[in-house]
Amino acid sequence: MEGLWNNIDYAASVVLFLIGLYAVIAKGNLVKKLMGLNVMETAVFAFVMATGIVTGGDAPILGAGAHEPFANPLPQALILTGIVVALSTTALALSLIIRIYERHGTIESEDLWGVE
């Protein structure tokens, strides 16, 4: 339990992840599903970023005024990539939603169910 308290950042991201998952599963509106997905993405990014936290760490940029310890730069680099991936997924999902709306006039999955 103590471990969990210390790792509350991780725990928060786990909870956020599950909230996002809930939205993806339970929400009927496609845009809301997508928002759930974005929440999940954020949760995972937060999780990975939290692995790089260093108490009292400085930004990992060398030069004048920089001091040890630096925050872990690797997760930051990874998540920069992750964000781009998330952006790409969102862009594609949105354009699919646009097309779905154009074609069927609705983005509620209950209404779309009959279309299939």
Binding site: V44, S88, L96, E116
Partner: protein, 494 residues
């Protein structure tokens, strides 16, 4: 360095080629297909050299940017990476098939995008298959997934976007789950390199490792469409243009399996982690997949829908083989990754040829088509017989190995499920063959249609011949896989 610079050619040229596709498409829209095919020929040559090198000198690695792992990214070419050979083979043939097919299936302004996405998808798979770095694996997984989602929607057919969206949501959730697992592994070991993780994993807490393994498994199982996580697959695979279906069904779902194999590789060499529960779960899900996939497929009248459900069954085989965790079981699963790719590509391209010529995709409309398109029908028949696992075709080998594996593991029940499951699959394939061969035509005018153009026919024939050849000369892929599997299982005394 073994392999020279071919690894870089392998992973980079499809990406750069895709970028150039749009430029070529702007000036010479008709040439895009040939350009893409040319690019992928180069990739295939690279894959050929690499495969040859692996077979000649064993596994080797390529350090991207010259940075040593675990600091830099390592491309790892071992026996499982040889799946690039089948990716390139099936991908190349599907691209060739596309040359004529797209004009019919894809709206004209989208054609350059089609080829760019196709190259990205294939390049993403190659990158995924050879990388030795878990985060890099995620990046390439996204390249191939994104292009896969878009390729499903590209026909612009009535429910294409819906199918693609469903695929996208499930795919994105699974990617995130995988990234979550990767994050866990990173937090535990501080490394992203697979070999390095494997070494460091033996000294960490088992429970969080279990969570990571569960997350990765869940993610890869969605990608592989294991029952009950398969719901995205049938629509997506049925609605996509046929060459895309061939690639999605034959290769992209295998990426999930390949991911599982990589994970197993790490876990087996880490040694400490008990895989019993995971294996049992996979075995059962595999068995259920086989049966459920077959039952769903039986009630389909749409030929591509049927093929899509049959993929679920076949994924069931593979997972059952993995879960058995016996040498033969895993060999069978790995062999089936290769063989099912070839078989399913035959079937989907064959179905594509039928749709191209007739415009129908319902079995009831395609009756008697064998008289009009004998070569295509014969190839489909070979594929059908093969996927059921009738010897001496490619499908039989896997059935034989997984059955042996089940018996080796002392789980004869699974061998029985597997073999009877195969019969269930046959029930619907025989229905298809009956319709093609032994039933009078519903639309008599179809008897005049004739065969498809050569660029479409040749890939189908090559694949059908491979279905037969791989059954008879099945030792060739096995000679790669067997030592790798034995080596992988060695730490647990398999």
């Amino acid at each position: 360095m073994a392999g020279g610079q071919w690894p870089a050619v392998l992973v980079i040229s499809p990406l750069v080629g895709a970028a150039l596709c749009l430029i070529v498409g702007r000036w010479a829209p008709r040439a895009v297909g040939y350009f893409a095919l040319g690019v992928f020929t180069l990739v295939s040559v690279a894959a050929g050299f690499i495969t040859y090198t692996v077979s000649a000198v064993g596994s080797f690695s390529y350090h991207m940017g010259g940075w040593q792992p675990p600091w830099g990214i390592e491309l790892r070419f071992d026996e499982f990476s040889v799946s690039i050979a089948v990716i390139c083979l099936v991908g190349w043939l599907a691209l060739m098939f596309s040359l004529h097919y797209v004009n019919h299936a894809v709206p004209e302004p989208r054609i350059p995008y089609y080829y760019a996405l196709f190259l990205l998808c294939l390049g993403g798979m190659n990158g995924f298959a050879v990388t030795g770095d878990v985060f890099n694996m995620f990046v390439f997984l996204e390249i191939l997934s994104l292009s896969g989602y878009a390729l499903v929607a590209i026909t612009g057919e009535r429910i294409a976007e819906l199918a693609a969206f469903k695929y996208l949501v499930m795919g994105a959730v699974s990617s995130l789950t995988i990234l979550f697992g990767i994050g866990f592994l990173y937090a535990l070991t501080g490394s992203l390199n697979m070999t390095d993780i494997a070494q460091r994993l033996s000294s960490v807490e088992p429970f969080p490792t279990g969570v990571a393994v569960a997350a990765l498994t869940l993610g890869f199982c969605v990608k592989a469409a294991l029952f009950p996580l398969h719901v995205w697959l049938p629509d997506a695979h049925a609605i996509a243009p046929s060459p895309v279906s061939a690639v999605l069904s034959g290769l992209v779902v295998k990426i999930g399996v390949l991911g599982m194999l990589r994970m197993y590789q790490v876990l087996y060499s880490a040694r400490t982690f008990d895989l019993g529960a995971l294996n049992t779960a996979l075995m059962w899900l595999g068995a259920i997949s086989i049966v459920m996939g077959a039952f769903f497929a039986m009630v389909q009248e749409d030929i591509k829908m049927m093929l899509a459900y049959s993929t679920i069954s076949n994924i069931g085989y593979i997972f059952m083989g993995l879960g058995l965790a016996s040498t033969f079981g895993i060999i069978g699963a790995t062999v089936h990754i290769f063989n099912h790719a070839i078989i399913k590509a035959t079937l989907f391209l064959g179905a594509g040829a039928l749709i191209y010529q007739t415009g129908y995709r319902d079995l009831r409309d395609l009756r008697g088509i064998a008289k009009a398109m004998p070569v295509t029908s014969a190839c489909i028949a070979v594929g059908a017989v093969s996927i059921v696992g009738i010897p001496p075709t490619a499908g039989f080998l896997c059935k034989w190995y997984i059955a042996l594996g089940a018996i080796e593991a002392g789980r004869i029940f699974f061998a029985i499920t597997l073999l009877f499951g195969a019969l269930l699959i046959f029930v619907y394939y025989i229905r298809m063959l009956n319709a093609f061969y032994f039933t009078p035509a519903t639309h008599p005018h179809l008897l005049q249609v004739g065969e498809v153009p050569m660029t479409m026919l040749i890939p189908i024939v090559i694949l059908a011949v491979l279905c037969l050849v791989m059954g008879i000369f099945g030792r060739i892929p096995l000679s790669f896989i067997e030592p790798a599997v034995i080596e992988m299982l060695a730490p647990v005394g398999g």
